[in-house]
């Protein structure tokens, strides 16, 4: 019971932050509903009503898009067969599919923040990791190796590629003091160009396409599905993300390496006095972080999409920052927040199709979530509740002054 109360207290600020952000999102939807707002002069109540109706339409579509349409679920119960069951559970499985890379990159962000590194290069690390998986996947097309072996090799390559992409800013910070915010963002752009370059070359590009799209690898390598029903994409990548969450939690709190990472993150000087290598922790933390993000990219490209495109990430790196902060940088929290954001992402896409409210609104909502989590005073003022101070990691990512101002 005490544990439950603790959980509720911890979830209060994140919950209210998401709620407030969604309300702000609704305000934006209403304010940009020019069709209905144009009528405000002649019929103010009607115009506003219609605009608010638009919000309910949009958010409603988001809800059914993420969790399923009650009508279809009813049909599946009445007439259970592969097709009806698949239609009924497809939204919720898509939510889990969307949550998978979010959890991977969310863990990546959490581990880097714990090391005092503000990694906003999740996008780049994810896509470079996906490139690594694609190179191995496509390269082993005619090898005749079993799918699972190719999968393992591809994921290993993804981890290495992503890890390297994360290691670079860690190395630069440790050796030269170059601020990781700038270097990781620059590496996002460079990573995108590298992937574009690789995809436009002859070896990876899909036959007969002039677009930057790789060959579809699902014919010879795939992540095994959890549920084998038509149009259900949920695979063991999701399970892998949960396993990694447990592994990260174990690493951070049960091993001396994790202890060193956290110590260096909070106070690099004290860590040095205690005989640890703060620079080493920065590099290790960033490499692990990049490796996790790359792993997410690997599972995404081998599993859910089957092929690499240059817009594979779709802003997962940005959302992962919001997610990790929302989770209080706790791996278990990352899983919970990842599921929530997976639902928002899946639902947001359905909202875009059904009600014409662009998916990109989510980025705005995510930004607001970060703001409210980082400034709980705002939540306190708006909702008149007593809230705890933010976790120290969130209050200040770099508890000591950066070696070089940005």
């Amino acid at each position: 019971m005490r544990a439950l109360a603790g959980l509720a207290r911890r979830a209060l600020v994140p919950g209210l932050a998401v709620l407030t952000a969604l309300i702000l999102g609704a305000v934006v939807i209403i304010l940009t509903d020019f069709e209905n707002l144009a009528q405000i002069g002649s019929d103010p109540a009607g115009a506003l009503g219609a605009a608010v109706g638009g919000v309910f339409n949009g958010y409603g579509a988001m809800l059914t898009g993420a969790f399923g349409d009650p009508e279809r679920i009813r049909l599946a119960f009445e007439d259970p067969n592969d097709r009806t069951i698949a239609t009924a559970i497809r939204p919720i499985t898509e939510t889990l599919v969307a949550a998978t890379p979010l959890i991977f990159v969310g863990l990546a962000v959490a581990i880097s923040f714990r090391t005092g590194m503000f990694n906003i290069g999740g996008d780049g690390q994810l896509i470079v990791g996906a490139l690594g998986a694609t190179i191995v996947g496509v390269g082993l097309q005619t090898s005749g190796l079993p799918s699972l072996v190719i999968l393992a090799l591809a994921i290993a390559a993804a981890i290495l590629f992503g890890g390297f992409w994360g290691f670079i800013p860690g190395f630069l910070k440790a050796r030269t003091g170059a601020h990781e915010v700038i270097t990781t963002i620059m590496l996002n752009y460079i990573g995108a160009q590298v992937v574009l370059f690789a995809l436009l070359g002859p070896s990876l590009r899909a036959a007969g396409s002039s677009q930057p799209i790789s060959k579809n690898m699902s014919a010879w390598v795939d992540v095994p599905s959890i549920i084998s029903l038509p149009a259900i994409r949920l695979d063991y990548g999701f399970v892998a993300s949960l396993v990694m969450a447990a592994a990260v939690s174990w690493l951070l709190f049960r091993t001396t390496k994790g202890y060193e990472l956290r110590a260096a993150g909070f106070n690099p000087t004290a860590a040095r006095y205690a005989g640890m290598s703060a620079g080493g922790s920065m590099m290790l933390g960033m490499a692990l972080s990049g490796g996790l993000a790359g792993m997410g990219g690997g599972f995404l490209v081998i599993g859910a999409t089957g092929q690499l495109t240059n817009d594979l990430s779709g802003g997962i790196g940005f959302n992962a920052i919001a997610l990790a902060l929302l989770a209080g940088l706790r791996p278990s929290g990352v899983v919970a927040a990842g599921l929530l954001f997976g639902a928002l992402t899946t639902g947001g896409k359905v909202m875009g199709i059904q009600s014409g409210i662009p998916f990109d609104l989510l980025f705005f909502i995510m930004a607001m979530v970060i703001m409210f989590v980082a400034a709980p005073g705002l939540i306190r003022t708006i909702w008149r509740v007593k809230v705890a101070k933010p976790a120290p990691e969130i209050a200040s990512v770099a508890p000591t002054a950066p070696a070089e101002p940005v």
Partner: protein
């Protein structure tokens, strides 16, 4: 101007920092405000300089009641403050640093009229014989000069009341003498001066009147002509203090720490330690005394593996450690209590238990092959909290929630939680209350009697005299003299700290 503070009270969460404090000082008088760390001196002065607002009470200057809402009002009323930590922009030159906030301007864009400011500064510098080069960059000036720049800053604002907060903390005895000369001449020209310190002999030397604060209240007043150090000390701590730590005679054994011709550079690559030779034996306490900034910090960092050395030898228990890492040094059984425990010795946002294992976490029983034994960690930490009487709600409390004394106890408990052959303690009692100081000293003496070699770096003469079996005085990167604890007096220590080199005969 005559200054009077009437019944000033100021409360911070959990502390009544000032409790109805009333003091007064006449024009041209030097008031010595004496008190321990935490007695409320600095709070009172921040109220006087407009940084804090008092909860109640009033400030009266020449029979006029003043309310200082911000530093501006205080400056306008003629109160000038010389802060303990200098408030000078390091990259500015003296003219810019002094004029900041009271800049003469010219032209429509309020251009800084540097020439006007410079003229005035040169004038003041000559008038009060401060001898400051107006075009020097602050960061290139020695501390003594920086302090004169601070005084210049107050004079530049036409302050009639000058408040000096612990002005001698970073000065050599001769610089302090110079400062006293300036204070006397300022007082002679009619400036009212409040001199805040915790050093007994200084108030006796320079003040016309002494007020002693204790736990936020006025504990008493004294006349410097008739009072004694002991009387003032008793007023300050509220009971008879033992300025001597109870300890038996040292029984020096084998040499544990050996240093030969050590040369170390500081962060700016200047020579900070210039050829130090030192031997510390098992079972003795060697105190390294000296004014802050004479190479003690770099010496300690060199011994503990935190700083690479230029040349020389360091051995610990016979092992050469010139190139050892902090981990290797610590694994030789060296306890290091760092100078700035908040920054270097603790991780504020980790728990007491996690801090308790900060430099031993990689050893058994805390961990094996990189994996923690959390049960062992919490058992040992609980034991440490009990043994060292650390006041904390639990071992899962964040270190930042503890008081300064308890934080220091966490550090000491941790360092003494494993067998040690050498203890390096830099300023181990800085900022602590009397009770904690005694406790920490007792623990250190225990380690000595158990056979460890102890090195304490201290700038506090009282501490130096109380705990040292031998006292090495450091000046300008060199050991300028080593005294036996019994031979040391305030006078000969003061001379050595100021750079006067004794004959070899006094070395132990």
């Amino acid at each position: 101007m005559r200054l009077e503070l009437r019944e000033i009270s100021k409360r911070f969460p959990g502390v009544l920092a000032n409790d109805k404090i009333s003091i007064s000082v006449d024009k041209g008088q030097v008031l010595g405000l004496l008190g321990e760390n935490g007695a409320g001196k600095t709070t009172l002065m921040n109220i006087l300089s407009g940084l804090y607002k008092p909860d109640s009470g009033e400030i009266v200057i020449d029979d006029q009641v003043r309310v200082f809402g911000d530093p501006h009002a205080a400056i306008a009323a003629g109160v000038g403050m010389v802060h303990q930590h200098f408030m000078l922009v390091p990259v500015f030159d003296v003219v810019e640093a002094v004029a900041l906030g009271a800049e003469p301007v010219s032209g429509p864009f309020r251009a800084f009229d540097r020439a006007a400011a410079r003229n005035r500064i040169v004038e003041l510098s000559e008038q009060y014989k401060l001898n400051v080069n107006p075009d020097a960059k602050i960061e290139n000036l020695p501390v003594g000069v920086r302090q004169r720049v601070e005084i210049l800053k107050a004079l530049y604002r036409k302050s009639d009341i000058l408040v000096l907060d612990e002005p001698s903390a970073v000065l050599t005895p001769s610089e302090t003498e110079e400062l006293f000369g300036i204070i006397r001449s300022l007082a002679a020209t009619g400036t009212t001066i409040i001199f805040i310190t915790h050093k007994l002999n200084e108030v006796i030397e320079v003040a016309d009147k002494i007020v002693v604060l204790r736990r936020g209240r006025v504990a008493g007043t004294a006349d410097p002509k008739t009072t004694t150090r002991q009387a003032l000390a008793n007023l300050m701590v509220g009971r008879d203090v033992e300025l001597i730590v109870p300890k038996g005679p040292a029984k020096p054994g084998e040499v544990v720490l050996g240093i030969k011709d050590l040369v170390v550079r500081d962060d700016r690559l200047e020579l900070a330690v210039q050829g130090v030779d030192l031997e510390v034996r098992a079972g003795e306490i060697l105190v390294i005394a000296g004014v802050q900034g004479n190479g003690q910090t770099e010496l300690v960092e060199a011994i503990t593996g935190l700083r690479t050395i230029d040349s020389g030898e360091i051995t610990i228990g016979g092992h050469h450690v010139e190139r050892a890492s902090p981990r290797q040094v610590s694994d030789l059984g060296v306890a290091h209590i760092p100078e700035d425990r908040g920054r270097d010795g603790l991780i504020a946002f980790m728990t007491v238990a996690e801090n308790y294992i900060l430099d031993t976490y990689h050893r058994e029983p805390y961990s094996r092959r990189g994996i923690f034994n959390l049960k062992a960690v919490s058992e040992r930490a609980t034991q440490g909290v009990k043994d060292f009487d650390i006041r904390t709600p639990s071992i899962q409390t964040l270190a930042t929630a503890l008081s300064g004394g308890n934080q220091q106890k966490v550090v000491v408990a941790r360092e003494f939680s494993v067998p040690v052959q050498l203890v390096i303690a830099a300023q181990p009692t800085r900022g602590l209350d009397v009770g904690s100081i005694e406790y920490i000293h007792r623990r250190i003496v225990e380690q000595r009697d158990a056979g460890a070699a102890i090195v304490i770096v201290s700038t506090e003469l009282d501490e130096v005299l109380a705990v040292g079996d031998r006292i090495a005085v450091m000046y300008d990167g060199r050991i300028v003299g080593i005294l036996a604890g019994d031979d040391a007096t305030l006078e000969n220590l003061g001379l050595l700290m100021g750079g006067a080199i004794f004959g070899e005969g006094t070395a132990a």
